[in-house]
Symmetry: C3
Subunit: 213 residues, 3 copies
């Protein structure tokens, strides 16, 4: 357990950058959505922070390890930056109607990579990695939606969680090839981002389980 | 802690069967309820999985141990089976108006037994066992109801959590007698199942705390 | 980790009294709010218990330690007392329109002190202490509001979480002076209580992030 933790920490430099960007992107999406409701600045900060850290926190609780954001203040600062960005560039962010989707998709791609690597570093098999990577990518936005009293986006016919699974499969596939780790990480994150945007654009969906009653 | 964990694992064979059946029953109830909302297949799978594993996960987090479903892929497969069963036998399940209640009650009975035994194996006193068994039995369905944006069934005048407490009392009572463990488990689960059905049929309820304002 | 835990336990006597009072105050606020919905006695008990212990439970899960209420049955009894108090003095509690706010504010003040001391005893830096104290004070009522299907009070323009941060700053400020621990604890809790009441009375709020769209 400790060994795999240390091994994880030795390669943290690049992962750190990915996690920072993912946190920033998710925090922006959270703050942006909170600002559509009449939530004050502080509430927007909390919702942004929970959106950004919720998935990783549940993953770390399940792994029985200390949540990642308690080990460094960078994530708390990152959300302050995201809040400032939304306050300063509010008009531009609103005008770009797709802002929310973009930042949400960037965050999703980066967090799937982080979740996959952390689960693998703890020695878990493929199917656990799939679940933990999906939790890392989706739980933050589920909690966000529950807090602002909406049915989580994940359940409203989007390929939200499904792209996380594709992401993990792509990660495993690329890792089997003889390529550098950075390459695997970047291509996986980019694939998740692109698949999600395409799925949303072409309204790809799974059949629903409708009641005939 | 480790000793009690190993002791728990030595007798896992029979408990495993109970847990599998409970997971299947709860997953069916979750998928069945999700299908009443316009949720896609994957969303239904996630809701089924959370309904089935949510209570045990919170219990294991509180016990500071690794969640049970990370140790074996059987629970993830079990939910796939439940999803297939709902898709294949949809019409029959809808026609049987009481399907939901039946599977929910079977799951409740089985999970109360699992929760009781795990809490006892960690050496906790009676009152902690009561709370952890109740959490094992009820939290999955509470999270399910919160995710689909309804007030949890537990708070709408059903004997939901109360039967869990009865179950633990029955378990302790039977354990004091000179009977086999399997007998204790089966009678406890059956009692919880029967009490819940009777409570629902005769609309047993506790007085509510109404405001006069 | 163990050392800091034992150090925490050596000074538990006074903290215990604070935690008991805070639990009682929060349980009253939870039961009182549940009684406005048509929730039965048992449901009211559960909501009261979750309101009282939810924040501390998440704090302890994040600290990777056993939740405080599993170590002593006093908190479960405390909630029974709160339930009886609400049942017996229902009319008086309703007549006093501000009951809810008062008990909520008392609980907030006391729990901020408990959360601050526990986080410090685990050796975390200032900014982690701020977050964990805020979680201890606010998460119980957030879960309560989610369970009864309302947008958490914290996001509706109250100084709910902000006063927790002030509380931690006051605690650190007083600790730097040469005064007794009990004095630090009492003044911190009282300050949080007073600031929250003043903020509510004068409708202090932060600007909201409104959409122009």
């Amino acid at each position: 357990m400790l060994d795999s933790f240390l091994e994880f920490y030795n390669k943290i430099y690049f992962v750190d950058i990915i996690e920072f960007c993912g946190t920033f992107a998710f925090a922006i999406s959270g703050v942006r959505l909170a600002s559509a409701k009449s939530v004050d600045w502080f509430g927007a900060y909390v919702i942004g922070f929970v959106t950004a850290t919720g998935g990783g926190t549940l993953r770390d609780l399940l792994l029985n390890t200390t949540p990642f954001w308690l080990l460094s203040s960078v994530y708390a600062w990152c959300t302050i930056l995201a809040l400032l960005a939304v306050i300063l560039f509010r008009k531009q962010l609103v005008r770009l109607n797709s802002t929310f989707l973009w930042f949400d998709s960037i965050g999703l791609g980066l967090f799937v990579v982080v979740g996959t690597e952390k689960a693998i570093s703890f020695g878990y098999p493929f199917w656990v990695v799939v679940i933990l990577a999906t939790i890392t990518g989706t739980v933050g936005s589920i909690i966000r939606d529950i807090m602002i009293n909406e049915i989580p986006a994940m359940f409203r016919q989007e390929w939200y969680a499904l792209v996380c699974i594709f992401g993990v499969i792509i990660y495993y596939g690329l890792s089997a090839l003889n390529v550098s780790e950075a390459f695997v990480q970047i291509i996986t994150a980019a694939s998740v981002f692109v698949i999600r945007l395409l799925a949303t654009r072409y309204k790809l969906g799974l059949p629903t389980l409708k009641d005939e009653s």
